[in-house]
């Protein structure tokens, strides 16, 4: 049956070149299959440097090489000189489902202003029950947060337990980008510019809306929005050479995506997707539509990506130029290499290490993984 189909297809293609052309157009949105490799020789050793963490959600290095770690349950930890110190005065976290204390970043000029940023789900700043993602700024002094200010709070609150987004990244111009997922309301939030959720946001470092944000002139739009049509972006990184902001996002069943974020663009969720419902039923038959961005790469099956870092000027000569992404589902770090923004190679690093929630390239050129129920692990190249 299947063979017959291909035979007739072949005849068709040889006879009618135009049919062939049509087929090419139809499959243009596909991507070449790049099967993931699992190298059996290991060029590295894994060291647990911060043990005994439950869900270390985010990490950020300070200039003195000490490390800030968010625990999803609501603790902000400062790991310094081999000690875990709990930072005081963190606002209350609304812990529900996937929500908690999540993203963390330091100001590009932290050396002078000691300013940090974090995202968490909160029920505060609203009379409604439930919670939603919020972005905070604070000054870190003597392991206490001072001048804590709320820069953004997504509305409305909801008791839904999914898709809080929450990564935070600065670009080369000093703008702050952060993500909020669709909060389990996919048919309402991601495509509506007047609603929060399913968006990448851009603010100045003090929380103001940049005057050239793409939707500042759109009536009733949430003007902090920079791009939309996202499902749940939980990986974001600045490209070390081009300065572009890259994200990945969780798809449903299949269809996790890597995207390069551009002002005002619509990344399609849920109008287009390479994934299906968890039940296996179809969300939409459309994988591509005019005006909607195609992902740079998509994963089938889903790896449940979390955390993202570019390997650049690193301690691993062979890995420079690649992108690394944590897999919550399959318990490894995925390394991808590119040619002309197409993925040409994928491999598993730290296979079976556990649920990789975050990955950062430290100031010393080493990769650090935040692994659930384990801790922070450093990848050390073998001599």
């Amino acid at each position: 049956m299947k063979l017959g189909f291909f035979v007739s297809l072949k005849i068709m293609m040889t006879r009618y070149f135009s049919y062939f052309f049509l087929l090419q157009v139809l499959f243009a949105c596909g991507q070449p299959d790049v099967t993931i490799s699992t190298p059996d020789h290991k060029s590295y050793t894994i060291e647990v440097i911060v043990p005994d963490l439950e869900i270390p959600w985010g990490m950020a290095f300070l200039p003195d090489n000490s490390l800030l770690i968010t625990e999803k349950e609501g603790q902000l930890i400062h790991f310094q000189n081999g000690q875990k110190i709990t930072i005081q005065n963190v606002p209350n976290t609304y812990v529900r489902g996937q929500g908690g204390l999540m993203g963390i970043a330091i100001h590009p000029n932290y050396k002078d202003n000691n300013t940090i940023y974090f995202t968490q789900s909160t029920s505060a700043h609203s009379d409604e029950s439930g919670g939603n993602t919020a972005l905070y700024r604070a000054v870190l002094k003597d392991n206490t947060l001072q001048n804590v200010s709320l820069l953004y709070k997504a509305k409305p609150n909801t008791k839904k337990g999914v898709h809080f987004g929450s990564r935070i990244v600065f670009d080369n111009d000093g703008y702050l980008y952060f993500t909020i997922g669709d909060r389990g309301n996919r048919d309402v939030n991601p495509q509506d510019l007047t609603r929060d959720g399913g968006k990448v946001y851009r603010l100045t470092d003090n929380g103001k809306i940049p005057t050239d944000n793409p939707f500042v002139d759109v009536s009733n739009a949430k003007t902090a929005i920079y791009s939309y049509g996202h499902r749940n972006p939980q990986g974001m990184a600045k490209h070390p050479v081009t300065g572009e902001i890259w994200t990945h996002e969780h798809g449903p069943r299949g269809g996790d995506e890597i995207n390069i974020i551009q002002a005002g663009k619509n990344y399609g969720w849920p109008k287009i997707t390479y994934g299906k419902n968890y039940t296996g039923t179809v969300i939409t038959k459309n994988k591509a539509l005019p005006g909607l961005e195609q992902p740079l790469y998509y994963w089938i099956p889903s790896i449940a990506p979390s955390g993202m870092a570019f390997v650049h000027n690193s301690a691993y000569a062979d890995w420079n130029g690649s992108l690394v992404v944590g897999s919550l589902k399959f318990n490894y770090l995925e390394r991808l290499t590119f040619e002309n923004n197409r993925v040409v190679y994928r491999e598993k690093i730290a296979n079976e290490i556990g649920r990789v929630r975050d990955v950062v390239l430290g100031p010393n050129g080493f990769l650090y993984l935040a692994v659930e129920n384990k801790g922070i692990c450093k990848i050390v190249p073998n001599p």
């Binding site: 439950e54 869900i55 999803k72 609304y94 812990v95 529900r96 489902g97 929500g99 839904k160 337990g161 999914v162 389990g184 968890y278 039940t279 296996g280 589902k329 399959f330 318990n331 556990g354 649920r355 659930e372 129920n373």
Partner: protein, 129 residues
């Protein structure tokens, strides 16, 4: 004698299902929001990674079941003879929601239970470490 006992058991079971119908329906919505990504719509999980719920022997211990939803699981558990050494974070559900989702799990995909888990029962379940 044994036959009569069986009939009583069956009738209480169907009675239980009837009066827990609302809880079951609420539990289904919570399952879709909080559980389905990993345990999947048919409760089969993924062998070696995510324990199944459908026909899982683990669920015969209702106290352990509620405990794992309320406080999460840490470290190895054995389900249907397979060891799962993973962590499930507590979902932050209210006690009444935990009762609902437990009732849903205990009565779905071929699972049947002849008890209804109540909010009061969940409240009484403490963490053991």
């Amino acid at each position: 004698m044994r036959f009569i006992f069986l009939i009583i058991l069956l009738s209480t079971s169907s009675l239980a299902q009837q009066s827990s119908g609302d809880s079951y329906m609420r539990g289904q919505m919570l399952y879709v929001d909080f559980c389905v990504r990993c345990h999947l719509p048919d409760g089969t999980g993924e062998t070696g990674l995510i324990p199944p719920l459908a026909n899982a022997d683990f669920l015969q211990d209702i106290q352990a079941t509620v405990q794992s939803i309320k406080y999460g699981t840490h470290g190895p558990i054995t389900v249907n003879g397979v060891i799962y050494n993973n962590t499930m974070a507590p979902m932050g559900l209210e006690n009444d929601e935990i009762a609902d989702v437990t009732n849903y799990i205990l009565n779905s995909w071929g699972n049947t239970a002849d008890v209804i888990v109540t909010e009061a029962y969940v409240r009484g379940i403490k963490e053991t470490k």
